[in-house]
Amino acid sequence: MTAVENQPSTGGGEPAPAKGRRPLGRPMLYTAYGQDMALLNTGAKKVAVAVLLVVGLLLPFVLEDDLLRLLATGAVLAIGAIGLNLVTGYAGQVSLGHAFFLGIGAYTAAVVSGDPEDDQLYGLGITFLPVWLIAGGLAAAAVGFVVAPLASRLRGLYLAIVTLGLVFLGTHVWNEWDAVTGGIGVGRPAADPVLFGVDLSRRTEVFSADQQLYLLMTALLVVFALLGRNIARSAIGRSFAAVRDRDIAAEVTGVDVRKVKRRAFVISGFYAGCAGALLYSITGYLDPSSFGLLVSVQFVAMVLIGGVSTISGSIMGAFFIALLPRLTRELPEYLPFLSSSATETPNVFQVETLLYGLLIVAFLLLEPRGLFGLWVRIRNYWKAWPFSY
C-alpha cells in the first residue's frame, strides 16, 4: 500500500463537487460550500421567491393604476437603496451623497433621451431605454470613481460630511446649469421609457401606462437585485465586508482597501444613476430641487429601516418608504384631528415627515437590523414553535 492510495479520494483524483446532492428530508444539512453560498440556499427561499414573482406578475391585473404607479416608484427606489446598501451597508462607507448620484443619473438620461431640436436644452434624441439607462448609470459610476479617493483618505463621519457637501454642490450645479436642467422652477422633461418603439409611459391597446411602467420597473428590480445579491455573496462582497469590519486587518490579509472602496463607490454610483434615470421617467418631469439632502436621508432611512447589509431588506425598506405617504394619507379617516390640507396644522404631510424621523430613531433603538431583523425574529420563532428555545 503506497502513500498515494491512503489519501482521500477527493484529494487525489477528482476535485470535491462544488454542489453536492442535497439529501432529501434534511433541509438544514449542507454537504458542500456551494450549497451554503447558493443564491437560494433553502427550499423555503425558493418557494417564497417563486410566489413573490407570481404575485408580482399578477398584481397589475388586480390593483388600481395609482397604486401600481406607487409600486413602480417603490421598485425604482429599491434599486437605489440596494446601491446605497452596497456602499454603506456592505462596504461600511457612510454616504449621505446618494441624492447627488441620483441626480447625475437622472440628468444624463434626460440629456441622452432629450429632444435634439430643442434650442433651450441639450438633447441627443436616443430614447431607447437601455441606452439612456446605462448611460445614466455609467455617468454616476464615473463620478463615484472620482469621489472614491476621498473615501480612501477619510474615515467614518468625515466621509459622511464630505458626501453631504457633495449634495449641496450638486444642488448648486443643477440650479445653475440651465442648458441641462432647465433651471430653478422650470425643470425639464425626463427620459422617455421607449422600448422597441413602444413608449411605455403612454397607454397602448393592451395595457395602461401604469401597468407597463410597473412591469418594466419590477423586471429591472429583479435584474438589479439579482446582480446585487451576486455581488454581495461573491469575492467582491466578502472584500466589502472585510473593509467594513476592520479595514486595517483587511489590508493585512491582502485586500486592496483603496481598490475595494473605489469599487464600492463605482457600483453604488451605477445603481444610483440607474435609479435616478428611471425614477423620473415615471413622472416624466424633473426639477433641479428634487435632489436635496432629504432624498439622501430617505435612502439612508430605506437602508436602515429595511436592514443594513441585506438586499431583501433594502427592497422592503424602499417599498415601505414609497408607500408611507399613501399610508399617512389614509390617516385622517381614523384620526379626525389630522387635516389632509397642507395649510392647516396638524396635517398629514407633517405627520409623514415626522414619521421619517421617528421611524429612523425607533428602528435604530429597538431593532437595528430593521424590517429584515423583524422577519428573522418571526421566522426563528415559528421555526422552533412551540418551543421558544
Binding site: L150, L157, H172, V297, V300, G357, I360, V361
Partner: protein, 295 residues
Amino acid sequence: MRDVLLTVVRGLGFGSVYALLAVSFVIIYKSSKVISFAQPALMLAGAVLVSYLAGPVGFYLAVPLAAIAIAMLGWGLERTTIRPMIGRPVFVVAIITLGLDIAIRVVVNVFIGPDVRNVGDPWGLSTVELLGLPVQERYIAMAVVLLVVGAGLFAFFRYSRYGLAMRASSLDQETALVQGVPVGSMTALAWAMAAGIAAVAGAFVGAGGGVDQSTWVIALKALPAIIIGGLDSIGGAVVGGLLVGLVESFFATYQGEYLPWLGQNFSLVSPYVLLLVVLLVRPYGLFGTREVERV
C-alpha cells in the same frame, strides 16, 4: 479697500455665528465621538423660542431663557435616545441624530408658520460708524457673543471641576470612570451645553433678517467649519467658523465679478468647496488629532 474691509467685517460677523455652531458640534463630538446632525433643529428651535419670548421679556432676557430651555431639550435627547446607544457604531448614533433633527424640525416649523419670523433683536440692519466704516451693529453683536461664549467655555473647561471632568471623560472614558467621574452625566451635560450654544447661535442667525423654515441649512455650514478646524478642537472650530464666514463673504462680494461662470449664489456653497480642498491636503483638518491606526 473699503469694499474689502466691509467684506471682512461681514465675514467675521457671520463667521462668529458659524463658529458658535461649530463649537456646539465639537462639544458633542468630544464627549461622545458623534457628529450631532440634530444641531440644525436645536438652533432653529432656539431662534423660534427667542422670537416668541422677545416680545414679553425683551431680547436680552429671551436669549438666555431660550438657551436654558433648549439645553434642557438637549439633555432630554441625550437621556432618551443617545444614552441607550452607548457602544454602538458612531455612524448609527449620527443617523439617530439625523432622525431627531427631522422630527424636531417638523414641530418647530409649525411654530414658524409659512412666513419669516422676526427674532426681535434690537439691531436690525442699522449701522454704526467705526473707523470711518459703516459697520452693521449685528456683526459687532455676533462677534461679542462669540467672545463672551468662548471666554466662558475656556474658563469652564480650564478652571471648573465639571470642566475638568468633561475633559477627562473625553480623553479616556474608562479611566475617567475609574477616577470617579460620572461619564454618563458628563455626556448629558455636553449635550445640554451644545444645545444651549446652538440656541444662542440661532438667535443671532435670525438677527437682522429673521428666521423661516429654511434657516436650518445655515447650521450645516458649521460642518465644513468643524472639519476644517478638526473635529476635536474647540479652538479649531472657532478658526474654522471664522474662515468659513470669510470665504463665504468674499465669494459673495467678488465671485459675481471675477468668476461669473460659477453661477449665482455660489457663495452659499463655497464653504463645501473649501472643505474639499482642505481635506484633500490635510485629512484630519487643520487642528485635528491624527488618528493612530491599530488593528
